[in-house]
Assembly symmetry: C3
Homo-oligomer: 348 residues x 3
């Protein structure tokens, strides 16, 4: 990139970086990216969709990133077929990704039987247990605790205060946010007449590559093998993944969703916020579940579900409409029943 | 205050502190505050309402704090028009607020480019990044991590194990409980045929003054500007506030509630426990939402809503009654339909 | 036990340990325990029920633990009347419980006015406040923070990053997982015309013996006395127990469930995942609540409830069936009403 730090980038440079096209003044320079409302003449702002393009007409931003300049006459616009993807590229110029600053902080407590790649970064007060390996370019931030026999692959990133119990593997470029706990014991007990006995949870957790786990989320260790999250899947904050679950690849698990134990979630699944999935289920590939859905039985591939307990999305929309009308519907039924001489005792 | 530590306070002193009136023995001294059931003759107990006043008749407490002594004959009572407010004042005498013990613990790692006010307290194993400022009388307890360019205003208080990512500002007297994470990346991605790409989240978090954030809650950083919580708003434990949200002033967000991204919540809003708010909504001033409500569209000022998806509270109460009756209602409908010769095929 | 480390155990030894009976080759040795799918000839696998027994026929495991060998001809089987209980015993052989490694890590900050039993283990970067007592064999792992006047009874175990505020007691053998916060302030405020005033929360938290608290769960301190969890109760991850609650003995509180303040939960209660319990309720002994149930009024002993708001389980199952049918039911009603000349205006 020809843009020097501080000097920002020209519209033409930004268009080149994101595969877009400049409409207007390609030489116009911007030094940062802000919201449509806050951006000034020296900044770029981003219009994700038609509604944002309407707001963009009133923006003071010097350069706009949008699908089309057609509704933005007289403005300098970087046009991109997918503005969100283009934004990723543009932000990558202004805010280069965090890289490991190689070295182990003097206060870190690293077991002699652990190995830390010389290109990895280990922050203050980190604790790393015996048999664990921190790979090239991995970042372990302040106060993270890594148990025994854990593996951080190349470029893995633990934010401050992440906890890994023993036997947790974190894939390449996978990012775990603060307060997340990977590998705490699964909720497994044997209930007997003489009391509740804990079933030792002797498995681990395996996160694939390019996974992201949100702040304060929990992924419990398996009873035997591993609780798994597949490559590319993004997990939001305060999510719980119960023991023995297998979550597929390239999916989204939104905030505060929870999976009970031993469920298998397919690839490219989207679970909305506060969704619950009962135990021992199979949720197929490509399933989408609306916020607060309660999944209580298997869901076939490609289904779009909603409601608690879940039903097909379309059925749930109809049911919701009718629930709102239900007092009037029921009133009519009672009139009809009275006219017909029906009562609670009537059976036929 | 004339009451010395250990000697406790007389009923008259307590009444003076809380703007109340003594009925009974104003010289009676108490050395602590306990529940109605546990308090003894040397202690004060508190009756919040009429039901508690009935229990208070059996309490051994030496002094009672209540709205009225009328139902408590023969007892020493501090009468206060608002007993809960009076309790705040009384407890403030017995349990003075925690104050900063100025100084930085020897184990803390404070970046040379950070500034800590000499009247602030920084506890063991705290990490503070470059460009951050800790204001007068602020308290940063053990193991808290403060990123770069953060601001703690006067009297701000981070309990142990709080994490602030970069670019988080905490207002005056705002209290953040243990395990809360402020400023983790918002859940923003561009989904393309070639995969899921993370949209860098380059904004921050701004908490107003007199805010409280509960244990293990998460407030994600904004994509561009700041995710905001307004002055005086109280957030309970395990709450998630998504990126770009703006929560107004003097509201309550109860335990495990969650806000998806970019929603705007008005002033004096009360969101009950486990409430969910979808993204990009406007929830008006003074709105109240019952526990487990799912807010899926804009809510006008002053509305009282309930249910998932939400509806006006009154409608939801009627719908709930009819859902309980639904099996009987449906049974009647089937009898009527059969008599009328209707079937699933009937259309008219 | 005669089995040496590494050498594993024979089927006969395992049967003796779990009170089971060998069918097949009692001398057969296994060196570990894995899932039915992963176990090889040198390992034991476990079949919890009839469905698992069917999968077990295809397992390569050298020894199977199951209720009966009848469906597993030709295999070496340890038969046990309750295979889950037997598994607890078997896993206890292969994975002996973690024991305290006595001593205080050099980096720990222990207040001179705290006492740590010489048989207890205190890990790196632990902070323990004045007046706290760590009992015999207790384990306090890395980064745990223990406030003032706390008590850890014999064999209590705090995993890394647990936070105890002041005045928290943890019973014998009670295990608290990473990120759990015990004793943060309850959500108690006095709302007055002049603003929201915090009611100081001056009580504590008391966990009984043999309790387990999951990762990132929160138990808030009481306003006056103590928020309590009874002996033997198991609490999963991301659970919130509000201030002043009293949870009984030998129960289960599943993931992401939440209890608002001052509710009393009986003994042997099972609250499913994401259940919510409103404040100031009494939930009786032996109550079971399905996942996502919203308990909004008292529940009698032994009740099985479901739905939000809750109703008897059986009623909720009927209501769910009818909600799914509701669009068709309502359609029939509208036809009948039209034929009968009824409209929204009709009242009779």
């Amino acid at each position: 990139m020809s843009g020097e730090p501080g000097a920002g980038f020209s519209a033409a440079e930004l268009a080149a970086a994101c595969g877009g096209t400049v409409v207007g003044d390609g030489a116009r320079r911007v030094s940062g990216v802000r919201s449509l409302e806050a951006a000034g003449p020296g900044e770029l702002a981003f219009a994700a969709d038609a509604a944002a393009e309407r707001r963009a007409t009133a923006s003071a931003a010097g350069v706009l990133l949008a699908r089309s300049a057609a509704r933005l006459p007289g403005r300098t616009v970087v046009e991109a077929a997918d503005p969100s993807l283009a934004l990723v590229a543009v932000l990558g110029l202004f805010f280069p990704p965090r890289r490991a600053v190689p070295g182990v902080h003097a206060t870190a407590v690293v077991d002699p039987a652990a190995t830390v790649d010389p290109t990895a970064e280990v922050g203050p007060f980190v604790v790393i247990g015996a048999g664990s390996r921190v790979g090239p370019g991995a970042i372990v931030e302040a106060h993270a605790v890594v148990g025994r026999r854990c593996t951080l692959a190349e470029g893995a990133w633990l934010h401050p205060h992440v906890v890994l119990y023993d036997d947790v593997s974190v894939g390449a470029r996978t990012e775990v946010h603060s307060g997340a706990v990977l590998g705490a014991d699964g909720f497994g007990y044997a209930v007997s007449p003489t009391g509740i006995r804990k079933i030792p949870q002797v498995g681990g957790v395996a996160l694939g590559s390019d996974v992201e786990v949100g702040a304060n989320s929990c992924v419990d260790r398996a009873t035997f093998e591993a609780t798994r999250i597949g490559d590319g899947t993004k997990v939001d904050d305060l999510v719980m993944i119960g023991h023995n679950c297998e979550v597929g690849r390239h999916g989204f698990v939104c905030g505060q969703a929870g999976l009970a134990g031993s469920s298998v979630i397919g690839d490219r699944v989207v679970l909305g916020g506060q969704v619950g999935v009962a135990g021992h289920l199979r949720v197929g590939d490509g399933v989408k579940a609306g916020a607060q859905t309660g999944i209580q039985s298997d869901v076939p591939d490609g289904a779009n579900v909603n409601g608690s307990p879940h039903m097909p999305y379309r059925d749930s929309m109809r049911a919701i409409v009718e629930i709102r009308r239900l007092p009037e519907t029921a009133r009519l039924v009672r009139i009809l029943a009275r006219r017909a001489g029906l009562s609670e005792e009537t059976t036929e």
